[in-house]
Subunit: 277 residues, 2 copies
């Protein structure tokens, strides 16, 4: 998938919604939790209920690893399931990996080749080596952390570097832009700091941004759009808990559907306002 | 395990060697590669051949994830195997994770609680949230990336921050020291840049350092010891490929044993020179 195909999907679905499958075992409603494959079954219902509203699913690997090999298997099966429901949907492994060259190659193999997702999130601390393996695959993406949505993002990401006004996250943007293109690099830009999204856009007007932090973490969709939207939308806005765990009862899928429709409709009116559809 | 117990093990074994189980499927000699559980069987022979010489094993998660759920299972079984052979050996999951609070908690659960390793490597880019979950477990460690052994470590780790002479990796040391103690934080300090190990010791004289980059990556044991050793040794020196894949033949375990003995003997004489044993 390249950025044109992604934008086409946005126009077709009138949405730039990504639903995060942060499928925490303990939060799965009882009737599903006792299933043989609880995470897969929960995801199946969520996917059926939301796939018409989303352009991407983000699979948070931690929640599956917490169940060991069985969780990993259900993560793989979730990817296959999404593909079978709608092959155009972007699948993101939110894995936040990052290592030396030969190890990064193994992570690329694990997620892009074997599991078959479209994109993997990567931490930039170790530099170019950490992303190179992901850029070598055609039609695949690496998603580099720039500004994350958590409070302690401030510990290091906002430090000024090299006796300048440039912060570390801006330096990450500036340096990593040389490594790839708008068709294989996306950046994480947390919705909890919309003013930074504006700043990010000054450096990278054209790249897609993966924006977590709407919903449970408190970010606002309008602020994100105001500062981050570009001529091909350029936004993949993620929400996880606020959709998938909006309803703790056995009706979770119906509620997730309603939440997704609500967000899709807000996004549709944003896309219309900006004359993108 | 705390730092005193770790130092006791170093004195007992006269070694500060960590062997990295970067068990790349394609590099497993043919007779073992065709086994039902190839990574586990390879590791079994390596562990039997080296456990008397090592104080730690470092499991590089990428090499197991590249084989999906089956690889993950063999990683779990490898941990159990090490425990059964010698329960005092420190087991490190070299996972380079790092995420927001609730996700970090899941990673801590996956590796420290469920898989039962002693320590997990973490990238500091997202700040305190990424390590907090790991620090909440008794007798467990988080290993924070400071200076990595790869070339592109220079892209960001060596940037000067806040109009000062302090580099990003030094800022990571200074800030993260407040989060934990010498009994639950270890730092990664690559052997390929021994002069930085000296600099690291200026900031954190007492913490243990996990030092990758000896062997295949070209770092020297003598330089590492000269700059990094402290009154409780303070070093866990890792080598992976140079031991486990030193011999591509079916005799790999015997060769690995010889390589481990060689390194242990060098370490014994270093420990004697510094009057630690």
């Amino acid at each position: 998938m390249n950025s044109i195909r992604l934008f086409n999907q946005i126009k077709t679905k009138k949405s730039f919604l990504c639903v995060g499958l942060d499928t925490e075992f303990e939060k799965i409603p009882e009737g599903v939790r006792s299933a043989e494959q609880p995470q897969l079954e929960f995801n199946r219902e969520i996917i059926q209920a939301t796939y018409s509203q989303v352009i991407a699913y983000k699979i948070n690997t931690a929640f599956y690893e917490a169940r060991g090999a069985e969780g990993w298997k259900e993560m793989e099966q979730t990817v296959a399931l999404i593909r079978s429901v709608d092959p155009e949907i972007m699948i993101i492994a939110d894995a936040k990996r990052g290592d030396i060259g030969n190890t990064s190659e193994m992570y690329a193999k694990a997620f892009l080749d074997r599991m078959g997702v479209d994109a993997v999130t990567v931490s930039p601390y170790m530099g170019y080596d950490t992303v190179n393996a992901f850029l070598k695959r055609n039609d695949k993406w690496v998603i580099i952390l720039a500004v994350t949505s958590n409070k302690s993002a401030e510990d290091f990401q906002f430090l000024k570097v090299n006796d300048s006004e440039v912060t570390l996250y801006e330096k990450v943007l500036l340096t990593s832009q040389q490594w790839g293109t708008v068709d294989n690099i996306i950046y994480v830009a947390g919705a909890t700091r919309p003013e930074q999204i504006l700043q990010i856009r000054r450096h990278i007007p054209d790249h897609f941004l993966l924006v977590p932090g709407i919903g449970a973490q408190g970010g606002s969709l309008e602020d994100v759009a105001k500062h981050g939207i570009n001529s091909r939308c350029g936004l993949i806005v993620n929400t996880s808990r606020a959709v998938i765990f909006a309803d703790p009862s056995r009706n979770f899928a119906r509620t997730a559907h309603m939440k997704a429709v609500e967000l899709q409709q807000q996004m549709e009116s944003i896309l219309k306002n900006y004359k993108l559809i």
